[in-house]
Every structure is written in structure tokens, then in C-alpha cells.
Symmetry: C2
Subunit: 201 residues, 2 copies
């Protein structure tokens, strides 16, 4: 299809599509003349992925490019690639501290195995620190309560991992981590409403 | 304390503090002369809150101001204020559609009570649509599995709501919704690592 059809079917302005081409998030079409190129379904799927990562997950164009790059060409095994993908997700850390006292205490209490250099450890520390700073520190009870149910959610995630190819497994792990976070956040907001209306409504 | 001490204790540059004052996120100090003002612990706590909302929750300055405004001066009851706060959280919707087929189907399957005009319904629809668009649609099984554990997490949240004053309850609900989302996201990322290392490591 021509770029005009890509504009129509994706619902994205031409300028936006050209920007993603220039920034390397959208792969080039097959040139058909000096000024035209041919696009296919893979370009439409890619635009949907870019939109999901930027508008729903909330990544910057730069971070979305990092995540897409890992799906296109994983640099290592599942662990390594997922670690790199998680580092492209918020919250972002100013200084990569090596000590994460709050995260370490919580993970020890939960009895979880973790690699201290994994980006999520620093992100957990930053999130716990922020909760403390606004006067809502995570109590031990809340750590254990959340931990039990988050682990059950992670079990569901892992049970869905494709086993046919390492590439598919990496794509599922990277995208599933990012794309189900807004789903879970929305579900929690809705669960609060359900509970509150039953209790106080 | 003088503004120089606020800079030192908050670790924020003077230009940033002045920007938050100008934008109305930080309340003015008590004037002590034509060019100086006196600040106290409440200003330090407010700066910590602004930092948590912008750097950890990932809100823009405009959205952080909306959330802070709701805590400072709730416009309605708990439900109404929480609804307004949730609308200030991502994902943001281009057009406020009134039909949310995916969200409605999932909430009916879960048997949850919901107000269709609540911002989280549109956010849930947008998140489900994005998951579908990138080739990872939420299966019924995943909706039910996630739903059970998210509801248990929401029960923990609701059990911690302060009952001494409506203002405290609103502050807890608004801040707790926003501030524990990055905590839960980090915990899920870490639970994946724990499970994967036990299973494949």
C-alpha cells in the first residue's frame, strides 16, 4: 500500500508517520520510485505497537525505540533482554545507586530471588522511597499482602509464555511486561470503585 | 527557613523550586521582606510530593497540579474526588468515547459494579485495546485470573483507609491510588525474575 493508505488505515497523520520513519521506529517501505515506497501489514502492526508504547504505556519516543529494538533484535538471552527492556520502563533513576535498602528488605521478607543489578530493584527502591516521602510508607503487612497476589499474577504471566521459539518468548516477555501494566493499573482503580460502592455506596 | 535552606534540604535546584511556586504547585512562603519569604516543613513535604508524582508516578507538572489541588481542596465527596484524581492519571484518552465494549465485557465477566462515566473505564478500554493491537489480547482466563488477585490487592488498600476524617480518607485514596501503582509494577517485574530464575535459571 502507499503511504496515504497507511495514514488512512492507521489513523495517524502523515507527519507523525514520517517522524517515526526518520527516528527509526518504523521500518522503511520497499522503494517503488525515487519518492514513493510500498508498505504492508507489518507497517500497520508496527504503528499500533508504537502507539501502544507511547500513548498507553507512556514511553517517550526514545524509550519506545529501545523496547522495539529489543524485540526486533534481542541482544542476548531472555533474562538479559528482559532486563534491558525493564530498564527502558519508568520510573527512571537519576543516579544508579548500588544500595537499595528498602527494596532489599522487602524482597528478603518476601523470600524472593533477585539479581541486584536488575533495573527493577532500583525502580522498586525509588517507588518505595516515594511512598515513604508522601507519608504512605509500605508496611510489612502491605508488602506481604501485595507480594502474595503479585506473585500469583506473575504466575499467570509466565504460564502464557510461548515455548515454540526463543524470539517469540522474548517478544511476549518484553511486551507483556509493558502492556499489561496499564491493564492492571486500570483494573485496580476499578476494583476500588467496586469495593467502595458495595461498602459505602 | 529561607529558600536557600529549602534548596539544600530538598536537593532541588532553586530554579525548579521557583518554577513550582510560579505554577502554583508549591504554596508561597510567609513574606519576611519585599524579596524574601519564610518556608517550613510543609513546604519540604510538598516538594517531596511533587517529586513523587512527577518522577515516580510520571505525571506532567499540569497533571501533578490537578492531583495536588484535589488533595488541598477536594471538590466533592470521596467518590467524586477519587474520580477526578483517576482522570488525571494515565493513560489519557484522545476522545472520551461513551462505548467501552472491551472494558464492559471484562467487568461483566468479573461481576464488578462500575460507573460507566468513571475515567478508569475508558482507561481500561484503552489498555485492553492496546494489548489487542500488539497481538497480546487479554483472554477470558487472564481477565478472571488477574481480576481475582487485583481485587485482593484492592481489599488491602481499602482496609487501610483512615476513618478519622474525610480529608484524610480522600488524601489516602488519591495518593494511594497513584503512589502504589509504581510499587506494584516494580513488584510484578521482580516476581517475574524470581519465578523465571527458579524455573529456568
Amino acid at each position: 500500500m502507499r503511504v496515504s493508505e497507511l495514514v488512512e488505515r492507521s489513523g495517524m497523520p502523515l507527519a507523525t508517520i514520517k517522524f517515526y520513519l526518520r527516528e527509526g521506529l518504523l521500518m522503511p517501505g520497499m522503494p517503488t520510485s525515487a519518492t514513493q515506497a510500498d508498505y504492508d501489514e507489518s507497517h500497520l502492526r508496527r504503528l499500533a505497537l508504537i502507539r501502544a508504547l507511547t500513548e498507553v504505556v507512556g514511553l517517550s519516543v526514545q524509550k519506545a525505540r529501545e523496547v522495539i529494538g529489543l524485540i526486533d533484535a534481542p541482544a542476548g538471552d531472555l533474562f538479559e533482554t528482559l532486563g534491558q527492556a525493564v530498564a527502558a520502563l519508568p520510573p527512571y533513576l537519576d543516579a544508579q545507586g548500588t544500595d537499595h535498602p528498602r527494596a532489599r528488605a522487602a524482597l528478603e521478607r518476601l523470600g524472593q530471588v533477585y539479581d541486584p543489578s536488575y533495573a527493577a530493584v532500583g525502580q522498586f527502591e525509588r517507588a518505595l522511597e516515594a511512598a515513604e516521602a508522601v507519608g504512605l510508607p509500605m508496611s510489612d503487612e502491605r508488602v506481604l499482602g501485595y507480594g502474595e497476589h503479585v506473585m500469583a499474577i506473575a504466575e499467570i504471566d509466565l504460564s502464557g509464555i510461548p515455548t515454540n521459539s526463543p524470539g517469540d518468548a522474548i517478544q511476549y516477555a518484553v511486551l507483556g511486561t509493558a502492556i499489561y501494566e496499564p491493564v492492571l493499573a486500570a483494573m485496580r482503580r476499578l476494583a476500588h470503585q467496586d469495593l467502595a460502592s458495595r461498602r459505602f455506596g
